[in-house]
C-alpha cells in the first residue's frame, strides 16, 4: 500500500507542479544557494535530451519486465558475478568495520581509570608545551624582592606536607599531611592580608578532617603503593613537568603590569555605595552576588546529594558505642556547642564590616553541631536541631534568591541591594543581610546533612 501511495503522489505532483514548487522546492534551493533562485518545474519542455533519455529508460525498463525470466537465467549462468557478489562484499565489509571498531574502542576505552587520568594529564602537558613553544614567547621571572622568613617557612612546610602526603604509606598519615598543607595555606593567607580566606580555609580544613574521619574509619588504613616503581617514576615525571609549566606561567604572569579597575572601584565604593567596610564580603554579597548565588546552589545541591546517598535513618547511634569520648566532653559539650553557635551568629552579623560573613558563620554553626554529635550522638544532635537539614537549605536558597527580588519590583536590576536606615542609633539593615542569612542557612544545613549522614555510615 505505501509504495502505491508514494508513486501516485509522484504522478500527481508531476502533473501539477506549481504547488510543490512554491511550498518546498523554491525555499529548499534558496537555502542551499543562500539566495532566491527561480525554480520552474513543468511536465513538457519540448523535445529535449532529457525527454529522450526518459523514453530510453522507460523502454529499457519495459524490456526488462517483459524478458524477466530469460534475463535472470542468463545472469545466473555467468559465474564471475557470483564471485564478486556485491551483497557478500557489503556484509563482509560491514562486519569487518564493526570488528575493527570493537578492537579500536576496546583499546582506547580500556576501563582503567588511572590510565584515563594519566592520558588527560599527559595531553594537558603536551597542549601547554605546544602552546608556549608555538607562540614563541619566552618565560620571564619577576624580581626576587624581599623575603619574609616566617611566611616563607610556612609556605615550605605546606609544600613539605604535600610531598609527605604523596609518599605516605597509610591513608591516615596522608590525610594528616594534606591537612597540614591546608593549614599552612591558611596561615599564608593570613599573613598576606586575607583574613576572610584564612578563616574559611581553617574551618574548611577542620570540617574536612571531621567528615573524612567517617570515611577513614570504614576503610583499611594501611595501603601499600598501588603502582609499580617504574610507573610511579613516570607519573612523578609527568606531574613535575606540569608543575614546572605552571610555575613558569604564573611567574611570567606576575611580570605583566596589573591595574585592576574593578578592585579599585571596590576599594572606593564599598563603604560609600555598599555600606560595608569588609570589601571582600561586600564583593561576595553585593558586587558579585550572582556568583555567590551560584555557589550557594552548589552547596545546596551537594546537600540533596548527601541526603540521597547517605543513610538518613537507622536509629540513634549513641556516642559511647561509636567512639570513646572523654567525660569532660560529655559535661561541657552542650555549653561549647552553644558558644560556637553564638559565635557563628556574631560572625554572620559583623561580616559586612569585619572578617566573617555567611559562609564562615554557617561553617562554624555546623561545627557546633559536629561537636554535639561527637559528644552525645547523632540522634541527639539531630533532635537538638529540630528541623531537617534540607529544610534549612531550601529556606536558605529562597532567602538568597528573594533578597534580590525587591530590586526588581523597584525597577532595578536583580540583586540590587536596598538599605533601610531605622535611625535611633540602630544599625542599618539591608537586603545584603537577608542574602547572607540565606548563605548561612544553606552552608549550615548542607554541612549538617553530610555530617549526620557520614557519621551514621561510619558507625554501621
Amino acid at each position: 500500500m505505501p509504495p502505491l501511495l508514494l508513486s501516485l503522489a509522484g504522478l500527481v505532483i508531476s502533473l501539477q507542479p506549481e504547488w510543490i514548487t512554491r511550498v518546498a522546492l523554491r525555499p529548499a534551493v534558496a537555502a542551499v544557494y543562500g539566495r532566491a533562485v527561480d525554480v520552474d518545474i513543468a511536465i513538457w519542455h519540448g523535445v529535449t535530451p532529457m525527454l529522450l533519455l526518459s523514453i530510453v529508460v522507460v523502454s529499457v525498463g519495459v524490456l526488462i519486465v517483459r524478458f524477466w525470466q530469460p534475463i535472470h537465467v542468463r545472469l545466473r549462468r555467468i559465474g564471475w558475478i557470483d564471485a564478486v557478489a556485491l551483497e557478500r562484499l557489503w556484509d563482509w565489509s560491514l562486519r569487518d568495520t564493526v570488528v575493527t571498531s570493537r578492537r579500536l574502542t576496546g583499546w582506547i576505552q580500556h576501563g582503567d581509570l588511572r590510565r584515563y587520568l594519566w592520558l588527560v594529564i599527559a595531553m594537558m602537558v603536551a597542549l601547554v608545551a605546544w602552546s608556549v613553544v608555538a607562540s614563541g614567547a619566552v618565560p620571564r621571572l619577576p624580581p626576587v624582592g624581599e623575603v619574609r622568613i616566617g611566611l616563607a617557612l610556612v609556605a615550605l612546610v605546606g609544600l613539605g606536607g604535600a610531598i609527605a602526603a604523596s609518599r605516605a604509606r597509610t591513608l591516615l598519615s596522608a590525610m594528616i599531611a594534606t591537612g597540614l598543607t591546608g593549614f599552612a595555606t591558611a596561615i599564608t593567607f593570613m599573613g598576606n592580608g586575607a583574613p576572610d580566606l584564612a578563616l574559611t580555609q581553617f574551618t574548611v580544613e577542620a570540617l574536612i578532617v571531621v567528615l573524612l574521619t567517617a570515611l577513614l574509619l570504614a576503610v583499611p588504613l594501611a595501603s601499600p603503593s598501588t603502582r609499580a616503581a617504574g610507573l610511579r617514576r613516570v607519573d612523578a615525571l609527568i606531574c613535575t613537568i606540569f608543575a614546572a609549566a605552571l610555575f613558569l606561567a604564573f611567574a611570567d604572569m606576575t611580570v605583566i603590569g596589573h591595574q585592576s579597575a574593578a578592585s579599585a572601584f571596590y576599594g572606593r565604593m564599598s563603604y560609600i555605595a555598599a555600606q560595608g567596610h569588609n570589601v571582600v564580603n561586600v564583593i561576595l554579597v553585593d558586587f558579585r552576588a550572582f556568583d555567590t548565588l551560584g555557589e550557594t546552589m552548589v552547596i545546596a545541591m551537594a546537600a540533596v546529594l548527601a541526603r540521597s546517598l547517605l543513610m538518613s535513618r537507622g536509629g540513634d547511634v549513641p556516642a559511647h558505642l561509636s567512639q570513646p569520648v572523654h567525660f569532660s566532653l560529655h559535661v561541657t559539650g552542650r555549653w561549647l556547642a552553644g558558644l560556637l553557635l553564638l559565635a557563628s551568629v556574631v560572625i554572620l552579623w559583623r561580616g559586612h564590616d569585619q572578617p566573617g560573613g555567611g559562609f564562615v558563620g554557617g561553617l562554624v554553626a555546623a561545627l557546633a553541631f559536629a561537636l554535639l554529635a561527637l559528644a552525645y550522638g547523632v540522634g541527639s544532635a539531630e533532635r537538638s536541631l529540630r528541623v531537617n537539614p534540607l529544610t534549612l537549605v531550601g529556606a536558605g536558597i529562597l532567602l538568597t534568591v528573594l533578597s534580590g527580588m525587591p530590586a526588581l519590583l523597584a525597577g532595578q536590576p536583580f540583586l540590587t541591594h536596598l538599605w533601610w536606615q531605622p535611625g535611633w542609633g540602630l544599625p542599618k539593615l539591608g537586603t545584603t543581610l537577608v542574602f547572607d542569612i540565606g548563605v548561612y542557612l544553606v552552608v549550615w544545613g548542607a554541612v549538617l546533612a553530610f555530617l549526620f549522614g557520614l557519621q551514621r555510615e561510619a558507625a554501621r
Binding site: 545541591m301 546529594l305 531550601g394 534568591v401 532595578q412
Partner: protein, 490 residues
C-alpha cells in the same frame, strides 16, 4: 516585561523551583508538579527573552546589582546564548513531560526535581553570562547536579560511573580555574569583552599561551573532545533515560559553547589577529580524531545507551570541525550544528528509553518490533535517527552540509573529507541501530505499550527537528549573526 526580569528569569525560575521542590521533597507528586510548572514557566520566559532579543536594536543587557559594566556581573541576551537558552527550555520541557515514564516516586524523593532544575538553571546561566568566573561557577553547579542525577538509585554501576565522571570533571574544572585566574592576572578583568580587548593588546607571552592551553584542555574535557572524552562512555549510560537525554543534549554543548566563547570570543581565533593563534592547528586534528574515534566507538556497541553516548561525542567532533575552520562562517556552522544536535540527541535518548519500556531491554539484540506494534512511535523516532544520519530534509542534513561546505570554502578540505567519512559511518550506525531497535521482529517478543507522555515529549522535539529541516535559512541566519556577535564582542 522589563529586560532585567527577562534576563534573570532563565536562571531564577529554575532555582526557585529547585528550592520549592527541595522543601516539598517528601511528597513526590508535589515535587513532580513543581518540576513541570517550572519547566513551563521557563519555556515561556525563554521564548519572551528570545523574542525580545530578536526584535530589539541593541542587545538586552542587565547589570546585576546595578553596578557599572565590567565592575559587577552582567547578563546579556547575545546570540548564540539566547538561542541556546530557548533550545534548553525546549529540552527541559520535553524532559519534564517525559519524566513520569521512568522517574517514579522513589527517584523523586531522592531529589530528581531540585537537581534537574538547578542544572537547567546553571546551563542557562552559562549561556547568558559575560563574566569568566561566573561561567566557572555555573559549570561547577552543573557538575554537582550531574553527579547527583547519575546516582539517583545508588546502584553500584551508578556510583562507579559517578566516580569516573567526577574525577575527570574535577580535573577539568581545576584546569579551567587556573586558566581563568591566569587571564585575570594578565588582563586585570574578568569581563569577557574587556579581557578580549586587553589580550589583543598584549604581545604573546608564556602566561597567556598557558592560559589558552589550560582553558582549551579544561573545556574540551567538558565538551567531550578526544582524547578527553573517555569519561562520557564510562558514565552517561548508568542514569535513567530522561536524565541521560538532558545530559546528552545540554552538558557537552555547554562545554562546547564555552570553547566558542573562549576561542572565538576571548581569543578571537576567527578574526584577523587572534590572540592564541598557536592553538588553531590543533583544533582540526582534535575534531577529526573525535569524529572518527567516536563513530567507531558507536559502531562497536550493542547497548542502546552506550551507542548513543558515543554519537553524542562524535557530534561534538563535527562542531569542533566548525570551530577549526577559522572563519566566521565556520563558527556559524558550529553553532548551527550545536542547536540541531541538542534537539536530536535528547530526542534519541528519550526514544531509547521508550524502546526499553516497550521491549524490556537496553540491548539491541533483544529489542525490535516497534514499527509494527507502535507505528506512531516509529514515525516520531525516525525523525531524530534520520536527522543524526544526515538524511535530507531533516536538520542533520543541513548541519553536515554546511560544515563540509565551509571547510571547502576555507581551503581545509581534509576536515570536510573526514566529516564525510564519519558521516558515512554514522549512516551505517544509524541504519543498523534502526533495524535492530525498531525494524527487526523477534519471534515470541512481547512489546508493551509506550506511554503517551513519552510520545508527547518526543513529538515536541521531533517537530523542532522537522521545522529546522524544512526552514534552515532562519537558523543559518541566526548562526551567522551569532558568529558575528561572538567576534565583535571583543
Amino acid at each position: 516585561m522589563t529586560d532585567a526580569l527577562l534576563l534573570v528569569a532563565p536562571v531564577v525560575i529554575p532555582f526557585i523551583g529547585a528550592a520549592i521542590a527541595m522543601l516539598a521533597r517528601k511528597q513526590a507528586t508535589l515535587a513532580a508538579a513543581t518540576g513541570l510548572v517550572a519547566s513551563l514557566l521557563l519555556a515561556i520566559a525563554s521564548a519572551l527573552l528570545f523574542a525580545r532579543a530578536m526584535t530589539s536594536i541593541s542587545t538586552p543587557l542587565t547589570l546585576l546589582g546595578n553596578w557599572p559594566q565590567g565592575i559587577g556581573l552582567s547578563l546579556s541576551a547575545t546570540l548564540p546564548g539566547v538561542a541556546l537558552v530557548m533550545v534548553t527550555a525546549l529540552v527541559a520541557l520535553a524532559a519534564a513531560i517525559y519524566a513520569p515514564v521512568d522517574i517514579g516516586p522513589r527517584r523523586r524523593r531522592a531529589g530528581y526535581d531540585p537537581m534537574m532544575l538547578a542544572m537547567i538553571g546553571a546551563v542557562n546561566g552559562a549561556f547568558l553570562t559575560d563574566d569568566l568566573f561566573n561561567l566557572y561557577v555555573w559549570f561547577e553547579l552543573a557538575l554537582l547536579c550531574a553527579i547527583g542525577l547519575l546516582t539517583l538509585d545508588r546502584r553500584p554501576a551508578q556510583i562507579h560511573g559517578a566516580i569516573r565522571y567526577a574525577a575527570f570533571a574535577m580535573l577539568g574544572a581545576t584546569f579551567i580555574l587556573l586558566g581563568i585566574g591566569m587571564i585575570y592576572g594578565i588582563t586585570a578583568t574578568l569581563n569577557i569583552h574587556e579581557a578580549a580587548a586587553a589580550l589583543a593588546r598584549t604581545p604573546p607571552n608564556v602566561a597567556s599561551a598557558t592560559a589558552a592551553a589550560l582553558l582549551f584542555g579544561g573545556f574540551a574535557l567538558k565538551a567531550g573532545l578526544a582524547p578527553f572524552h573517555l569519561w562520557l562512555p564510562a558514565s552517561y549510560h548508568v542514569a535513567p533515560a530522561s536524565v541521560t537525554a538532558v545530559f546528552a543534549g545540554l552538558l557537552t554543548k555547554m562545554g562546547f559553547y564555552a570553547l566558542l566563547l573562549i576561542f572565538a570570543g576571548l581569543f578571537g581565533t576567527a578574526s584577523e589577529s587572534p590572540s592564541a593563534a598557536q592553538m588553531a592547528p590543533l583544533f582540526g586534528i582534535i575534531a577529526a580524531a573525535t569524529m572518527l574515534v567516536c563513530v567507531a566507538g558507536a559502531l562497536a556497541q550493542t547497548d542502546m545507551r552506550r551507542l548513543l553516548a558515543y554519537h553524542v561525542i562524535a557530534q561534538v567532533g563535527y562542531m569542533m570541525a566548525g570551530l577549526a575552520i577559522a572563519t566566521r562562517e565556520g563558527v556559524a556552522a558550529a553553532i548551527f550544528y550545536m542547536i540541531h544536535s541538542i534537539i536530536v540527541q535528547s530526542n534519541l535518548f528519550l526514544g531509547a528509553g521508550l524502546i526499553r519500556r516497550a521491549s524490556g531491554s537496553w540491548d539491541l539484540t533483544r529489542t525490535g518490533g516497534m514499527v509494527r506494534h507502535d507505528p506512531l512511535f516509529a514515525a516520531l523516532f525516525a525523525v531524530p535517527v534520520l536527522s543524526l544520519a544526515g538524511i535530507p530534509p531533516l536538520s542533520g542534513f543541513w548541519a553536515k552540509m554546511i560544515v563540509i561546505r565551509e571547510s571547502l570554502d576555507a581551503g581545509m578540505a581534509w576536515i570536510g573529507g573526514v566529516a564525510l567519512i564519519a558521516g558515512l559511518l554514522t549512516i551505517v550506525s544509524m541504519a543498523t541501530f534502526w533495524s535492530d531497535a525498531c525494524w527487526k521482529e523477534t519471534p515470541g517478543q512481547r512489546i508493551r505499550r509506550v506511554p503517551g507522555t513519552g510520545l508527547a515529549a518526543m513529538a515536541l522535539l521531533s517537530a523542532a527537528t522537522v521545522l529546522i529541516g524544512l526552514f534552515p535559512q532562519g537558523l543559518w541566519t541566526l548562526a551567522q549573526q551569532s558568529a558575528y556577535m561572538l567576534e565583535i564582542g571583543r
